[in-house]
Amino acid sequence: MSTATIKSAYKQGISDGLPFVFMVAPFAVLFGVVAVEAGLSLAQTMGFTVLVIAGASQFAALQLMVENAAIGFVLLAALAVNLRMAMYSAALVPYLGAAPLWQRVVVGYLNFDQTYMMSVAKYEDAPDMSVPDRVRYFLGVATPIAPLWGCTTLIGALIGKAIPDALAIDFILPIAFLSMVAPMLKSMAHVAAALVSVVVALALAGLPSGAGLLIAAVCAMVTGAGVEVWIERRVA
């Protein structure tokens, strides 16, 4: 294959990343709105979104902050939402492990759901891709997404300042969480984990904010893993 006939890996990444724009933009606007409504300053909202750049965990931290949970609980619960990205990191090693350290640092910063999913699918499809091309492709996918994430958060934060309280924006957060989690319910094990999380969290709602949630999350993770093993054994 000559390089003239195929698009450069970077451009290919950009065009594969573009459709996610429609998913990322409303989400980031929403984060800006709720962060400002919750009482964060513009600088804090932007610092959050640019430094952390992980939607679900940003929302999770915000929710616990609104509840005035202890800082340790805020961090544990929000970072737990991001633990799946350790799995992404591990999955990228066979493809990008040989890239220079500074490139792996950049990839690490930009290693979120969309870049990971598109890139691993691409690497599996095109096993001949060179390591530099793989990095270019990854950065290409991130190119339309990451800057947009910041810009649209800013728009949301500016809108948020203007929204009257009568709009009852409080309930948007639960709706966003449910919409995030529903597509993740891919198997019986995921559903079982989610149900255990709900039941235990409700049962322990009397504990200090965040404490019951952590216990619920641990129970749910063990349930998910357990059900997965059980299903595999039955099939085998």
């Binding site: 409303p26 610092g47 931290a61 350790a86 990191s89 066979p94 449910l178 749910a220 993770m221 998910g224």
Partner: protein, 111 residues
């Protein structure tokens, strides 16, 4: 929210560092060593283990109604969950949930 400005920045800074460490972990520090399968298994369930437990009390006992269950909020939550699950698209779930919620608010405002 009752945190001081410094505490809020501390949360943001620690989340930034923590999230980066998680993302960079294997790529940067651990390298090519395989992870034990049970760890991978547990990691797979972290989002569905945390988010439902966080959202359930918010749906059942919303602060806006003083902790009383509220039919409109339950319906909006169901709409978001079902539409996002069927369509597999986060955005459609949010649109459906918000549409039900604000339509309901509008109707109850008129009554």
């Amino acid at each position: 929210m009752t945190y001081s400005t410094a505490e809020i920045w501390l949360i943001i800074a620690l989340m930034a560092v923590g999230t980066f460490v998680i993302r960079f972990s294997f790529l940067g520090l651990i390298g090519d060593r395989p992870m034990p399968p049970f760890v991978l298994r547990l990691l797979r369930y972290t989002p569905v283990a945390v988010i439902p437990g966080m959202v359930a009390p918010l749906v059942l006992w919303p602060q806006a109604t003083g902790g009383q269950p509220d039919l409109l909020r339950l319906l909006a939550a169901m709409a978001a969950l079902v539409v996002a699950w069927r369509s597999r698209k986060v955005v459609w779930g949010m649109v459906a949930g918000a549409a039900v919620f604000y339509a309901g608010l509008g109707i109850s405002g008129l009554l």
